[in-house]
C-alpha cells in the first residue's frame, strides 16, 4: 500500500507514458529518462538531444528493442554504455556495441572478472573508474558512485542528479525491505556491506533524494529511500543474530545455527520471510564471522 502511495505521489511529478515493443516495455519517466523492462530485469536509457546512455545492455533482443525504441522516438543513438556490475546476465547485449565507437564504462574492480574470466559474448569495457564518474547529458547528469564491494566486487549506484533518482541494480527491492532472492548469498560481501549502505544513506541525505529504481523486473517502478535504511537494518539484524548465536553456542560444526532457538518474530516483518532461507543466510554470516570475509 505504501509503495502504491509513493508511486502515485511520484507520478504527479513524472508523466509516465508506457510503450510495449515485443517483450520489452518502455516507460518514459521524463523527457530524458526511459525505463525498459523485459519481464525479468529492468534498467534505464537516458538521452539528450545528441546522445543516449544505456545502463546494462541486458541481452541482444532487449538491446535491439532499445535501439528500435530510440529510433522510433527520434532519440539519438547510444554512445555510452554503463555496466552496473560485472555479472554477465545483465551484459549479454554488449556485443552489439563496438569499443571503437562506444564508451563502455565499468568500475575498476570489475576488470578482474572481465580479463581473467574471458567471455566472448561480453564486450570488455574501455573505460574504468575508481570512485566516481560523471556523464553530463545537457540538463541531466549521471553520476556513478562506487561504495565498495556489496553485490559482487564492483556494483555501482547510479545517480540521476536532475531527476533526484537513484538506480540500484541489485540488493534492494522497491517492494520493500526483505529476504534476498537467493539465500545462499553467492555474491554478497558482508565485510563491506554496512559501509555500502551507510555511504548510500549519506548520498541520499546530502542530495535530498527521495526515491530509487531497482534492477528487478518484477518490482514497482519507484521505491522510497526509506526502504534502503530498512534493508540495511535487515543485514544488521542478520549480523547480530549470527554473532549472538556464536556467543551462545548455537552454531554447529558445519556453521549452521539452530534457528528453532532464535526469536524469529523480528525477521517475520521482512518480505519473503522463510525459515529455510534464514538458515542459509545465517550460515553465510557465521562463516563471515569466522573468516572476516
Amino acid at each position: 500500500m505504501r509503495a502504491l502511495k509513493i508511486f502515485i505521489f511520484i507520478s504527479l511529478f513524472f508523466e509516465l507514458s508506457v510503450l510495449q515493443a515485443g517483450d520489452v516495455t518502455f516507460t518514459s519517466l521524463n523527457d530524458q529518462i526511459t525505463l525498459f523492462n523485459n519481464g525479468q530485469v529492468q534498467s534505464l536509457v537516458i538521452s539528450s538531444n545528441s546522445e543516449s546512455v544505456l545502463i546494462d545492455p541486458i541481452n541482444k533482443s532487449t538491446t535491439e528493442a532499445i535501439k528500435n525504441y530510440l529510433r522510433q522516438n527520434k532519440k539519438p543513438s547510444i554512445t555510452n554504455i554503463i555496466y552496473s556490475h560485472s555479472h554477465w546476465d545483465r551484459l549479454f547485449g554488449s556485443t552489439l556495441f563496438d569499443t571503437k565507437k562506444h564508451k563502455i564504462i565499468a568500475q575498476s574492480a570489475c576488470e578482474l572478472y572481465f580479463t581473467r574470466n574471458n567471455n566472448i559474448d561480453i564486450t570488455k569495457p574501455n573505460l574504468y573508474f575508481k570512485k566516481q564518474y560523471t556523464i553530463g547529458l545537457e540538463e541531466e547528469e549521471i553520476v556513478l558512485h562506487y561504495f565498495g564491494p556489496s553485490h559482487g566486487e564492483c556494483m555501482v549506484v547510479i545517480e540521476l542528479v536532475r531527476a533526484k533518482i537513484l538506480f540500484i541494480p541489485e540488493l534492494i527491492s522497491t517492494r520493500g525491505a526483505g529476504f534476498p532472492k537467493d539465500p545462499t548469498l553467492p555474491f554478497l560481501r558482508p565485510a563491506t556491506l554496512e559501509l555500502f549502505f551507510s555511504s548510500l544513506e549519506e548520498l541520499i541525505e546530502e542530495k535530498k533524494i527521495e526515491s530509487f529504481i531497482s534492477g528487478y523486473g518484477d518490482d514497482d517502478i519507484y521505491g522510497s529511500v526509506k526502504i534502503i535504511s530498512k534493508q540495511k537494518q535487515f543485514w544488521q539484524l542478520i549480523h547480530s543474530t549470527a554473532k549472538e548465536a556464536e556467543e551462545n553456542g548455537l552454531v554447529d560444526l558445519n556453521n549452521f545455527i539452530d534457528v528453532e532457538k532464535l526469536d524469529l518474530e523480528k525477521f517475520s516483518e521482512y518480505n519473503n520471510f522463510n525459515k529455510a532461507d534464514l538458515i542459509n543466510i545465517l550460515r553465510r554470516y557465521t562463516s563471515f564471522l569466522n573468516m572476516g570475509r
Partner: protein, 319 residues
C-alpha cells in the same frame, strides 16, 4: 640401456618413492580429546626441518633452520599460545617469520605472541587490503607484502610462497617447503583424497573462475619442484564423513583430485544448463540423476544442492 628402459626405471623408482608412506613422529599432543581418540592438538615431525601442528581441525607448518624458525598461520590466540610453548621444547632458535597462507581470520588470528618476540610477518599484498577493509584485533598485519612470489630463508630451510591469482579468497598462496619439498594449500587439497566432500559448499569468498587455473599452476609447481607430497591444512575424512583422519601428509595427486572435484561439479552444472534445465531446477535435477554421487567421497545431498546452486550462479554471471 635404451632410453625407453631408462625412463621406465626412473618412473618405477619415482612411484616407489611416492608410494612409501612417510613415517611421522608425534612430538607432542594434548591430553584433552577432540573426538574419540583424536586429541585436541598435536605436533608431528615430518623431517628435521619440518613439523606440522594441528589444533582442532586446523593445521599449520613449522620450518626450523640454522638461522631461526618460520611459522605459518598462527590459527587462533589459544593455538598460538600452545604452539609457542611447545616449539620452545623442540628448538631454541628464534621465531623469525610468520607467513600467512591467506586472509581468513580462522587461520591467521593470534600472531601477537610471535610479534612480541620480534617475528616478521609476511603475506600477499591483497591480504593486507582485506584486513584494512575489515580489521580484526587478533590479526597482526604483515610487515612485508609481495605480489607474485616470495622466499623466506632461515639457513638450511626455507619457505617459498606462490600466488596464482584469486582462488579461495583473493590472496591465498601456495607454500612449498625446502629442502623437504612439501606443498601446503590452505583449505583445499587435504589428504587423503581431493575428491572428498568440501566443508563450505556455498564457496563463500571463492573466486570460482580461477579455481581450475589455480590448481593447474599448483600441479605444475609440484611437478617442476618435484614435490614429495602435500600437507593438509585441515583434518579430513576417509570414505565416510565423521570417519576423521589426521590427513597430515599425502600424495601430490590430491591437488589434481581437488581440481577434478571442482571441474566435475562445474561440468555437471553446465551439462544440466545445456540440456535446458532451468537454473533454479539444476540442483534438484542433478541430485535426482545421482550425478557425482559415486565420485564424491562423503557425498552430502544437502551440501551438494548448495554447491550446485552456487556453480549455477557462477555459470550465469561469471562470478
Amino acid at each position: 640401456m635404451r632410453m625407453k628402459n631408462v625412463i621406465s626405471l626412473l618412473m618405477i623408482t619415482l612411484l616407489i618413492g611416492c608410494g612409501t608412506p612417510l613415517e611421522l613422529t608425534k612430538v607432542a599432543e594434548s591430553e584433552a580429546p577432540l573426538f574419540g581418540k583424536m586429541k585436541l592438538w598435536e605436533i608431528e615431525k615430518i623431517s628435521n626441518n619440518l613439523y606440522a601442528f594441528r589444533y582442532t581441525f586446523y593445521r599449520n607448518i613449522i620450518l626450523i633452520g640454522d638461522d631461526g624458525i618460520i611459522l605459518t598461520d598462527p590459527l587462533t590466540p589459544e593455538a598460538a599460545s600452545i604452539l609457542n610453548k611447545e616449539i620452545k621444547k623442540i628448538s631454541n632458535k628464534p621465531i623469525k617469520y610468520v607467513a600467512y597462507s591467506h586472509s581468513h581470520w580462522d587461520h591467521v588470528s593470534g600472531g601477537q605472541i610471535f610479534k612480541d618476540q620480534g617475528a616478521e610477518f609476511i603475506a600477499h599484498e591483497q591480504c593486507l587490503n582485506n584486513w584494512l577493509d575489515n580489521p580484526s584485533p587478533e590479526v597482526v598485519k604483515p610487515d612485508k607484502v609481495f605480489k607474485d612470489d616470495f622466499k623466506i630463508d632461515v639457513g638450511n630451510a626455507s619457505l617459498e610462497m606462490y600466488f596464482y591469482g584469486p582462488s579461495h579468497d583473493n590472496c591465498r598462496v601456495v607454500f612449498l617447503t625446502q629442502p623437504d619439498r612439501f606443498i601446503f594449500i590452505a583449505d583445499d587439497a587435504n589428504p587423503p583424497d581431493g575428491m572428498n566432500m568440501i566443508y563450505g559448499a556455498g564457496l563463500a569468498d571463492t573466486y570460482i573462475f580461477n579455481l581450475i587455473p589455480f590448481f593447474k599452476s599448483s600441479e605444475l609447481l609440484a611437478r617442476k619442484k618435484r614435490a614429495k607430497g602435500v600437507i593438509g591444512s585441515h583434518m579430513s575424512f576417509s570414505k565416510e564423513p565423521m570417519n576423521l583422519v589426521g590427513g597430515t601428509v599425502g600424495s601430490t595427486r590430491v591437488i589434481k583430485e581437488q581440481r577434478l572435484f571442482y571441474q566435475l561439479v562445474i561440468d555437471a552444472v553446465q551439462m544440466a544448463l545445456d540440456k535446458g534445465i532451468s537454473p533454479e531446477l539444476v540442483p534438484d535435477y542433478l541430485i535426482e540423476q545421482g550425478i557425482l554421487k559415486e565420485k564424491i567421497i562423503g557425498f552430502d545431498e544437502k551440501k551438494m544442492r548448495v554447491l550446485y546452486r552456487r556453480i549455477t550462479n557462477y555459470l550465469l554471471t561469471g562470478e
